[in-house]
């Protein structure tokens, strides 16, 4: 019995850790969706690019990988702004299918651009703490996992402060609630589009950094599945609801790792889509969604 409890704790902890990556992705998608009402399916490619930038800076400078996270977020924030200006702004309001198709194109460009620069072999980054573990109860938890959870909480707290306390954050929330109303009171909504896309991309970069520093294998194709899952978390939690994204992210992380442990690795990806399909059959607008589409 004690053993089973330990296993459950372990699975729960893995889920928590995997959930952090999903939460960062889903929160970014949600922020962008809230303001622009669009979805970038190539969001995971930003995670992947973030992973490569962190790994490259780490290899060149030898800095503590966790210290690189801010730099990577800044770089990807700029990349996000460029994507928004060049790709998504021209198709704003031309129909939702166009976003899906445009994102497909972006996925191909990013994956193969990265493969062209860095090659497509699987790589691993060795964190300086990879051998350090912390005993929690009867199990040994890798220190990296604990740092990742703490970093995620810090980033989310920072985002929350930004959105609630600063005038920029208030403008973003206003645009998100009512675009026309925001325009009337003099908010430059296009600038808000740009900024929220940048912040969303920076969150994906943070997820990518945490992905590599935790010692997960990375190659140019790692981004798509997490992003699609993150988007299904967004749907599950209700479009535009950030608490929904956090609950959904944790749920997915735990369900996946539970499924992988108890049913076998092949079920890891399927279980999350199974949850999504079942939820959508009964609630086509998601768990916390209101009217939806």
């Amino acid at each position: 019995m004690a053993l089973e409890f330990d296993i459950l704790l372990q699975v729960l902890f893995w889920g928590l850790y995997a959930g952090c990556i999903y939460i960062l992705l889903a929160t970014g998608l949600n922020l962008i969706f809230g303001v622009m009402k669009i979805v970038n399916f190539a969001h995971g490619e930003l995670l992947m690019l973030g992973a490569y930038i962190t790994a490259t800076v780490f290899a060149l400078s030898g800095l503590n990988p966790y210290a690189i996270i801010l730099l990577t977020m800044l770089v990807l924030g700029l990349v996000g702004i460029v994507i928004e200006r060049l790709c998504f702004r021209p198709i704003l309001g031309t129909g939702k299918l166009n976003e899906i198709f445009l994102s497909l194109g972006l996925i191909y460009v990013f994956q193969n651009g990265v493969a062209l620069i860095w090659g497509d072999e699987r790589q691993v980054l060795n964190s300086p703490y990879q051998t350090v573990t912390v005993p929690v109860g009867a199990i040994q938890l890798p220190l990296d996992y604990i740092i990742i959870i703490v970093v995620t909480v810090l980033i989310l707290a920072g985002l929350s402060l930004l959105l609630r306390k600063t005038s920029l954050g208030k403008a973003i929330r206003a645009t998100s609630q009512n675009r026309k109303g925001a325009m009337i009171v003099g908010i430059n909504v296009e600038r808000m589009d740009m900024i929220s896309f940048g912040i969303g991309s920076a969150l994906a970069a943070a997820a990518g950094t945490l992905w590599v520093v935790s010692g997960q294998v990375f190659n140019p194709y790692i981004g798509s599945i997490p992003a699609i899952k993150a988007f299904s978390i967004v749907i599950l939690g209700g479009l535009g609801s950030i608490p929904g994204a956090i609950v959904g992210g944790l749920l997915y992380g735990i369900a996946e790792n539970g499924a992988a442990y108890f049913l076998g690795g092949i079920w890891k990806d399927s279980i999350s889509f199974l949850i999504l399909i079942i939820v959508l059959i009964f609630r086509p607008t998601g768990l916390f969604g209101e009217s939806g589409e």
Partner: protein
């Protein structure tokens, strides 16, 4: 010397058919070209099937599921019952259609991203089911050998295969054309443009959406079976997301919601794709396709088929 618009499209269709029929002769029966042409024709069928569903306003990102199901069902029946693959591809299409109907039932209330996510996830789930619990019959990740469409000892085998697949594809496109020209086509367009208004006009969206889903899955299943018998091998890799993305890319490139769009898109992109491969570009060709897709979505949202019209409008505006 103004050619009637209708007769012009007839001429173009006739020319395209002529090229398709004469291609093996023009290509000098090169094994490589014939091989590429066969795969291209299969993808024309696949893209047309996907586009048929998109015509009713439903964009699937998981058509690999039906493509693979068609392939697996046809292969397994052909292997276990010893039937000729020519008969079993129909079974593949029918099973894909039934599963498509069931998925359509779950998706009938969903739109856009929701539908895209559910269909994408469905392909992931089907892959897991085929690779793991059904591995005793499907051979798991190792895959299984699939019998050739026609007895492989036939002299000039590929030539016959090409014409057989071409005939099936043309027949399917004619069916799609007839359906879209009938009341069903009007209903699809009405639902796509505005479901609520369509309902107000007395159209039952559920019925028509299910019809679109079922027939699209059927044709996709046939295309998948043809592909698998052509390459004579099938593994769960067939359910990969990329399989789902190609028909989407081809259809958008050519022109969404038109009969000729998927055909033109598939032909041009296949030629471009193989041309870039000849140049020894691997990643670059994906980048080229991705950039083209972005450019088409932004600047030519109705695809290449609308290019003459767009140019004419531009020209007329400049003149006027």
């Amino acid at each position: 010397m103004r050619v009637e618009k209708k007769s012009l499209s007839w001429y173009l269709t006739a020319i395209a058919l002529g090229i398709a029929v004469l291609l093996p002769l023009l290509a000098g029966m090169s094994y490589h070209i014939l091989n590429v042409a066969i795969i291209m024709v299969i993808f024309i069928l696949f893209s047309s099937a996907w586009n048929f569903l998109a015509y009713s306003g439903q964009a699937s990102l998981g058509h690999a599921a039906f493509f693979g199901i068609g392939g697996y069902v046809s292969t397994l029946i052909a292997r276990s019952a010893g039937l000729p693959p020519f008969a079993t591809i129909l079974a593949g299409g029918c099973v894909a259609a039934v599963i498509g109907l069931l998925l359509g039932l779950t998706c009938v209330r969903l739109k856009e991203w929701f539908l895209a996510m559910v269909t994408f996830g469905f392909a992931v789930i089907v892959q897991a089911v085929v690779a793991s619990p059904l591995s005793a019959t499907t051979g798991g990740w190792d895959g299984i050998i699939s019998p050739r469409l026609l007895p492989a000892d036939l002299p000039g085998y590929l030539l016959y295969e090409y014409y057989a697949i071409l005939a099936i594809t043309i027949l399917s496109i004619v069916c799609i054309h007839l359906i879209l020209r009938s009341r069903a086509g009007l209903a699809f367009a009405a639902i796509r443009e505005n479901e609520t208004e369509a309902q107000a006009a007395g159209i039952n969206p559920v019925r028509w959406k299910l019809l679109a889903f079922t027939f699209s899955s059927f044709l996709t299943g046939i295309a998948g079976a043809l592909m698998v018998h052509h390459i004579s091998f099938i593994s769960p890799e067939i359910f990969h997301a990329e399989t789902s993305f190609w028909p989407v890319i081809y259809s958008i490139f050519g022109g969404l919601g038109t009969i000729s769009g998927p055909v033109i898109g598939t032909v041009i992109l296949t030629v471009l794709w193989d041309g870039l491969k000849e140049l020894g570009l691997t990643y670059e060709r994906f980048i080229v396709i991705g950039l083209l897709l972005i450019i088409v979505v932004i600047f030519l949202p109705r695809g290449l088929v609308s290019l003459p019209e767009v140019l004419r409008e531009r020209f007329a505006r400049k003149k006027g």
